[in-house]
């Protein structure tokens, strides 16, 4: 893989982020709806509104506001949260690790469960096992996270089992068992949400690969089926899974918002819901920008692995 390929991807990732920053800024500033009114309420005096606008810099031209915000963001200064009265970067810093832990465990669990199942379904295509896996994944896609989570709570946290806590968080440093107990249901929910899609995509990617002419070539070379699968099909099929995994990461970030809210889990998702509900715009901007950046990073990583697995991609992308 050429460094040029990686540089190109890196450049396009940065470009995405730049456009994204513009969008985030536009959503929170250009759309009708006044941050000052949002903070002080409908009954605030015009003088008070004006004062807060000046304090937040809302009286300046939009381009200047954007330039100021972006320049700050590049330095790691995302402004001051209107509700916490703390720098946004600090507030986010307190929450982001918790969310990333959820995401990492979920992605690992989903990949370990879904990819093998998808491959098996593709290989045993049309058989009973395939049908079972397909049907299961169909249900998984259609049942939303905010339905799965309460049901899991109903079963595992409610009477009579009461195995796991239904909400809250214990840091790993305090009690590793407590940490595990609190993180079990959120990650289970997220994994259930994710595996269905990943499994289906892996299956259809593998099916395409298994129907490809180069797999036929391999079979007509007289290779045993195991070798055809391991050496020719899997490597190409996995490229699909990896791309899907990176795309699913975005979906996962959406689900994390809901799951954190349900389980009262102190992460970035819950923070952003709080910020939106209270119209803490600097906090919304900062959190959204961070989520976008993480997602862009995940896609870069996927491109890199993809390029390793399939040199043609690196040559043509």
């Amino acid at each position: 893989m050429s460094p040029a390929f990686l540089l190109r991807r890196l450049f396009s990732g940065l470009l995405s982020l730049a456009i994204l920053s513009l969008l985030i800024f536009a959503c929170t500033h250009v759309l009708p709806g006044d941050a000052a009114t949002a903070i002080l309420g409908e009954n605030a005096t015009p003088e008070a509104l004006q004062a807060i606008r000046v304090r937040l810099g809302l009286d300046r031209p939009l381009t200047l506001q954007y330039a100021g915000w972006l320049a700050g963001a590049l330095r790691g200064d995302l402004g001051v949260s209107a509700t916490f009265n703390q720098p946004v970067a600090e507030v986010i810093g307190l929450h982001v690790a918790n969310s990333m832990t959820l995401a990492a465990i979920t992605l690992a669990a989903a990949a370990l469960i879904a990819i093998p199942l998808g491959v098996i379904a593709a290989v045993r295509r049309g058989k009973a096992l395939d049908a079972t896996i397909l049907t299961g994944s169909y249900l998984g896609i259609s049942v939303p996270d905010f339905v799965i989570a309460p049901l899991l709570i109903l079963v595992f946290a409610g009477p009579p089992l009461q195995l796991l806590p239904s909400s809250g968080y214990v840091p790993l440093g305090e009690s590793s068992l407590g940490w595990l107990a609190h993180i079990a249901l959120p990650t289970a929910t997220l994994t259930l949400v994710l595996i269905a899609h990943l499994m289906r995509q892996t299956r259809s990617g593998m099916i395409d690969v298994l129907a490809s002419e180069y797999v036929r070539t391999a079979r007509l070379k007289g290779l045993p089926e195991r070798m055809v699968l391991l050496r020719h099909a899997l490597r190409n099929g996995l490229t699909t899974s990896i791309t899907v995994l990176a795309l699913d990461f975005g979906y996962l970030m959406g689900s994390i918002v809901i799951v954190e809210e349900i389980f009262a889990y102190p992460g970035l998702g819950r923070l952003i819901v709080y910020a939106v509900a209270n119209r803490d715009l600097p906090l919304v901007q900062g959190a959204a920008l961070l989520i976008g950046a993480v997602y862009v990073g995940a896609n870069l990583l996927a491109d890199w692995v993809h390029g390793l697995l399939n040199p043609r991609v690196a040559a043509h992308a």
């Binding site: 180069y214 070539t217 391999a218």
Partner: protein, 544 residues
């Protein structure tokens, strides 16, 4: 050892689609002996690929072998156990397919893909197998075998990829190689070199080859015996010379006659009574089309699918003229710029420099109203009628649309369109049909009707017969000749097929890498080509 290498006895195969069963091969019997090249010719749908895949017992789940035996070295392959089949595939019977680009694993170096055969069937170690792979690449005429062995398929040209496929087939030291249209996806010159290679390998290794193709010319070039497959039946099988010179069935005869041949000694059927090569004197008027010093540049690569992916693709200082009621052929391989020229004439592309004058009007200086009028005068027939007819419009709508655009009333346009369709041999029953209900030849007739319905003076024919079956090609060429006579228009023929040029063109321009390398009357260029590239093209075409 009197046993034939391969014997098919009464083989019948059918495909199941839903509740229906469609026979693909009917009662096929033949034998092949060692060291023989057997060529099977058939049009698309004749079952020739199925024949090859049945021999290696690799058929899709919905295929049914309804009867017959495939005996290879005396063993019945259709009843062989999986292990025995694996030991045969790649080792005793190897295969080469039409499209090497998809047949090679994109994620594996080609050397490793060849070495794999050695490791599997000869239990060679990695380094020995890799050494052998490089040797094999040398055998099939690859220049730097070590370097190519370390390449991925996408880094190779189509010709190189096909040589890799052949090396991979040879790696098992097979007794029989099955080739499924191995040259079809390649350019003319590459095709000719590949056919040479196959003939050469047969000599050196005593290979037996079962070569299947739609291209009778290619088959005739290398086969010892020729079989003709039609609608799943083997119509005829015999020594190549005998089949070509004394075809036993009318179908084979039609097939041979229909190939427009490049050497004037054996004229194709439709040439009789036609003097193609002499430029007719003109009435002294201005030429219909005058292209001067035309240069075209692309800023965007891959403007259309299969287009060039290079950064800049150009036509450089191309000049030619086309007199009224004459046919000018622009000849070149893919990437030579011939399609670019056509698009510029239609003003789909803007020239970077140079002028195009059509019927006395400079194309680049036209007002939009006059451009619209001119567009009625210049029409195009594309290579692939499936792509050029919108699948969501009926035949009548397709042909009537240019008239409607020109301002005709709906009734008048429909009446004229119906008349035009009649003129290309499509009766009223076709009017309400959709394109997918038509055969390839019928689609091309609709496309021709659409081009002629506005009474154009110049029709651009962009490889008008290339995507059609041989018999249909001849009929379409005849139709085009008739329309030209009746409607007194001119053709700009864009093609890579010199035989077609010979058939209908008066003048020819040979394009290479965007530049004119030779031009003149067809007779002059064909009998005394001055440029070495033209000679190579002609030689490649005579190979057939």
């Amino acid at each position: 050892m009197n046993e034939p290498l391969l014997a098919l006895e009464g083989l019948s195969v059918a495909y199941r689609a839903g509740a229906q069963v469609g026979p693909v091969l009917r009662n096929i019997s033949f034998t092949m002996s060692r060291g023989e090249v057997l060529g099977i010719v058939g049009e698309s749908g004749s079952g020739k690929s199925t024949l090859l895949f049945t021999i290696v017992n690799y058929l899709p789940a919905n295929a049914m072998i309804e009867g017959g035996i495939v005996r290879f070295n005396g063993h019945d392959l259709l009843c062989a156990a999986p292990d025995a089949l694996r030991a045969t595939r790649g080792r005793r019977i190897a295969m080469v397919y039409q499209d090497p680009a998809t047949g090679l694993n994109p994620a594996m170096r080609v050397g490793a893909q060849i070495a794999e055969v050695r490791r599997q069937h000869f239990a060679e170690t990695g380094s020995a197998a890799r050494r052998r792979a490089a040797e094999l690449l040398g055998e099939v005429g690859i220049d730097a075998p070590q370097r190519i062995a370390g390449s991925y398929p996408h880094q190779l040209s189509g010709g190189q990829q096909q040589r890799v496929m052949i090396a991979m087939a040879l790696a098992g030291e097979p007794e029989l190689v099955l080739m499924d249209e191995p040259t079809t996806a390649l350019d003319v010159l590459v095709q000719a070199r590949l056919l040479d290679l196959i003939g050469d390998l047969k000599q050196r290794f005593g290979l037996s080859v079962l070569f299947v193709s739609h291209d009778l010319g290619a088959v005739a070039a290398i086969a010892d015996r020729i079989g003709v497959l039609y609608a799943g039946e083997l119509m005829e099988l015999g020594p190549a010379r005998e089949v070509l010179e004394r075809p036993a069935t009318p179908y084979t005869r039609a097939l041979i006659m229909a190939i427009p041949r490049i050497d004037a000694q054996t004229p194709a059927r439709s040439i009789s009574g036609h003097v193609p090569a002499v430029a007719r004197p003109n009435d002294g008027g201005a030429p219909l089309l005058q292209v001067t010093e035309l240069s075209v540049r692309y800023r965007h690569p891959r403007l259309w699918r299969g287009g060039p992916s290079a950064t800049v693709q150009a036509v450089k200082r191309v000049s030619f003229r086309l007199e009224r009621e004459q046919v000018l052929a622009i000849v070149g391989e893919s990437g030579s710029g011939k399609t670019t020229v056509a698009r510029t004439l239609l003003r789909l592309l803007r020239p970077h420099a140079g002028t195009v004058v059509v019927d006395g009007e400079d194309l680049s200086a036209l007002s939009s109203a006059r451009l619209r009028r001119l567009r009625r005068q210049v029409q195009i027939v594309f290579q692939n009628p499936t792509s050029s007819l919108n699948p969501r419009k009926t035949v009548l709508d397709l042909v009537a649309r240019p008239l409607r655009l020109a301002g005709a009333s709906s009734d008048a346009a429909q009446a004229d369109a119906a008349a035009m369709l009649g003129a290309v041999g499509l009766g009223p029953e076709f009017l309400k049909r959709w394109p997918h209900q038509l055969s390839g030849g019928e689609k091309q007739r609709v496309a021709i009707a659409r081009a002629f319905v506005t009474g154009p003076k110049l029709v651009i024919l962009d490889e008008p017969t290339t995507s059609l079956d041989v018999l249909v090609q001849a009929a379409i060429l005849e139709l085009l000749e008739r329309l030209k006579r009746e409607r007194r228009c001119s053709y700009l023929l864009i093609t890579h097929d010199l035989a077609v040029v010979r058939h209908i063109a008066d003048h020819v321009v040979v394009l290479r890498a965007g530049e004119v390398c030779e031009s003149g009357t067809v007779a002059a260029v064909f009998s005394k080509p001055r440029h070495s590239y033209t000679k190579a093209l002609l030689d490649a075409a005579r190979h057939d």
